[in-house]
């Protein structure tokens, strides 16, 4: 899940380029899980009769677990989210483990406009052709998946279970809501389907991040971070101070302008959010190569309340290096990694339908105060993409908190995950399962089993496996 890109404005917060980082950091590139890569033709526009154009989305296919004598083979279908589908295949070990157990066909479907599923090839994101972005919506994507499942089942009765984490989890949940005839059930891990205007407070995200940092080592951690903003701004006001920051953090490009300083601050803020999300109990490389419980590591460097500017600057630099240079292979820190093709995707979705308000208050969090200003947000969307956001689209279609009629969805949320604030934490009925992982970060339960997993994650996976097994049995 990537937060909306607000870079360059004073509204909201600037957690841009997470996807950029994510693609650079890459997958567990030992290719733990194997698959064929296939393509499937879909209409560009499922919902009007204006054009008949089509394009291909990619999907990953593995039938090695399938019992060919079983006419009702389950399909485990990952509803791909904002990135190259191979990354999610490598970071969703739970699906593979369960597929082996259930002898399921494994499918990871790539979301249109990501990875290599680009409807207009290399000109897909050409901002002088905004009409290319018109078909980049949740509904078109779900229809792609519906058609792909219809094609795969080919009139056979096969139970399909949707899996997804983060935005992919939102898609899995919405897919079950809208196409229950195609999807028996869905595991929606860390899926903040309530993080929309008017139904969840915009400050919840940063409050949870703060709480994660507060509890990771000791409370000096957040006190130091809270203090650091003022220090950065004071230093940043002078040329010498800018150089001091640049040197301390080994920036590849020294800060020169106030705009540079702002980018640096936004970058740092984003790092904290990412750290909270991937605060996994073992070494991982989902958003960046990281040690186990990286927030704890960061806070270890901030365990003393720093009183001098020099000490604080030094401590911050050591702390952030946990995220920015854990492998110690980077010669310098490049804070402008939001320039590759793929992160265009989420920035656009944030501007059309996925308008998820985020704000923060310095008196209650370790972050700077920033408000949510929809008007400015919408203006920026129009300026960048000629897109007018529809902030109520998702609630209109998927119901916001009105989930009474929903069935066969597991909503799992780790309480260490800042996105849990917009997650479903109470079940609307006895056919929707809410699983809370007190020690869980962002969709930790979807990842492969690991000896370092805390008990609550193992419990959650067992419960999820049992529910999925029942869906398949009852099909």
């Amino acid at each position: 899940m990537i937060l909306p890109d607000m870079g360059g404005t004073t509204v909201g917060t600037a957690l841009s380029a997470v996807l950029g980082l994510l693609l650079i950091a890459g997958c567990d590139c030992n290719q733990k899980y194997k698959y064929e890569i296939k393509e499937f033709q879909v209409p560009l526009d499922h919902f009007s009769f204006l054009i008949n154009a089509t394009f291909n989305i990619r999907y990953l296919y593995n039938d090695s677990f399938v019992d060919k004598s079983n006419a009702r083979t389950p399909i485990f279908f990952y509803t791909g989210n904002e990135g190259d589908i191979e990354l999610f295949a490598q970071n969703t070990g739970f699906l593979w483990e369960q597929a082996e157990r259930q002898r399921a066909l494994v499918i990871f479907a790539e979301h249109r406009y990501y990875g290599k599923s680009l409807p207009f090839g290399s000109s897909t994101f050409n901002t002088s052709l905004p009409e290319h972005l018109a078909y980049f919506t949740v509904e078109q994507t779900l229809e792609d998946y519906a058609m792909l499942i219809t094609f795969l089942t080919n009139d056979r009765q096969m139970p399909v279970v949707a899996f997804g984490g983060s935005y992919g989890g939102m898609l899995a949940a919405w897919f079950r809501m809208k196409y229950p005839h195609l999807v028996t059930g869905a595991l929606a891990a860390s899926a903040p389907i309530l993080q929309f205007s008017g139904i969840t407070d915009c400050d919840i995200f940063y409050r949870i991040v703060t709480s994660v940092f507060q509890n990771a080592y000791n409370t000096n951690c957040t006190a130091n971070i809270a203090k650091s903003w003022k220090l950065f701004e004071t230093l940043g006001a002078s040329e010498a101070g800018k150089k001091q920051i640049s040197d301390a953090f080994h920036l590849c490009n020294a800060l020169k302008t106030d705009e540079d300083l702002k980018k640096f601050l936004d970058y740092v803020e984003e790092v904290y959010s990412n750290l909270a999300m991937v605060n996994y109990p073992y070494n991982s490389s989902f958003l960046a190569p990281l040690p186990a419980y990286p927030v704890r590591q960061v806070c270890y460097y901030l365990r003393e309340l720093q009183t001098t500017d020099a000490d604080l600057l030094h401590a911050m630099s050591s702390a952030l290096a946990v995220y920015t240079n854990y492998t110690q292979s980077a010669k310098c820190l490049d804070i402008s990694v939001n320039s590759n093709a793929d992160d265009s995707g989420w920035n656009i979705q944030s501007c059309n339908q996925m308008v998820m308000p985020i704000c923060s208050n310095s008196s209650e969090t370790m972050f700077r105060t920033s408000s949510w200003n929809f008007k400015d947000y919408a203006e920026k969307c129009y300026k960048n993409y000629r897109l007018t956001p529809k902030p109520y689209d998702i609630i209109l279609r998927y119901g916001g908190r009105n989930l009474e009629a929903t069935t066969n969805i597991i909503f799992s949320n780790g309480l260490l995950d800042p996105w849990s604030g917009g997650g479903v934490l109470q079940s609307p009925n006895d056919k929707v399962f809410v699983i809370i992982l007190p020690e869980g970060a962002h969709h930790l339960d979807l990842r492969h089993s690991d000896p370092a997993d805390p008990p609550s994650v193992r419990d959650a996976r067992e419960k999820e496996a049992a529910i999925i097994a029942r869906w398949i049995q009852d099909f």
Copy 2:
């Protein structure tokens, strides 16, 4: 419900222009039910970010029953179908009666592209502008209704019950399936949601019509009709014969060409279908001014097995006049009443998504044999409207027979209604109610209560009322 217009081809059947008739025959024009007419702005295209154009749909509004002190006032929402919404308001007495009982707000929403809800005004159906037809889909229509309900409830908790008959009943059912957060339940009367390719035999419609005629008076009725096709064709082969037919049926425009003859035969065939649909137990004027149980009246004139051509011709003429000139006010019979703007609507929908295969077999029915040929059908659609039909769209989205996850829908079907063949006659679970009216014609239960109603219709309405009351209570 209007059958697909196949006029001019030899495939399928030619039940065109029902809507034309319907608009001419008009409503119970004493305006039994009162309302304000309002307008509501909707996006032309809900599903892409290509255009920001909007237009207004109409809706009828009556709050005279509302208990203003009730914060949870029910809304009874008619999901308008293929025609001017005022017609449906006047022919859906059950909704009004129940609204009074439940003190509900009454809304009848006009379907886009019908009545006065034309997105491009007078050029909406201009066939040289096929792009005007692009947004004429079920999904866009349901979104219009979703937005209207969101506007009407204005963040208040109000139970909404959708009502609809025929295609409007299909919409009511699909609306509940896709927007359960907005609609507590739906009464889908005579809604043939299974009348699609591959899930229902295409000959069911005419088999039911035949059965209705067979049981109305005596079996000579269908024998005479079955014989009449051959007679019409034999006579129609000569000029003198064409004149004989024209005279017998008092045609406004005498048959001259073979094409004229074909139109006449198609017209007659359509009359039988309409008669079966509106075979109501009292005088009515839904599709045409008609006596009570009009099929019985028609078959009264065909009660003797006619042995000579002249006798058969005479009997047929008397029989058909029950439908074509019950008021005896027509000077002649005009069989080309499919030329006004509104019936364009259904012909287009039949060509985009609402592809409902119909065929017939003369050995099993009183009709001529006609096959269902999708290829020819699609070619005609392209020729007429530049539209490529998507015959599997509806099944992909609404699930065909896979209704297990559906809740809070009443499917009611009269067994005298030819559309019941494509209706839901078995409940998939205990939250979907199937109500069968053995003596019911096309959505008879939706009409106003009448002393002539057969007991099964009164029973059905009582059951429906109780279920609706429970939905409101449980809300």
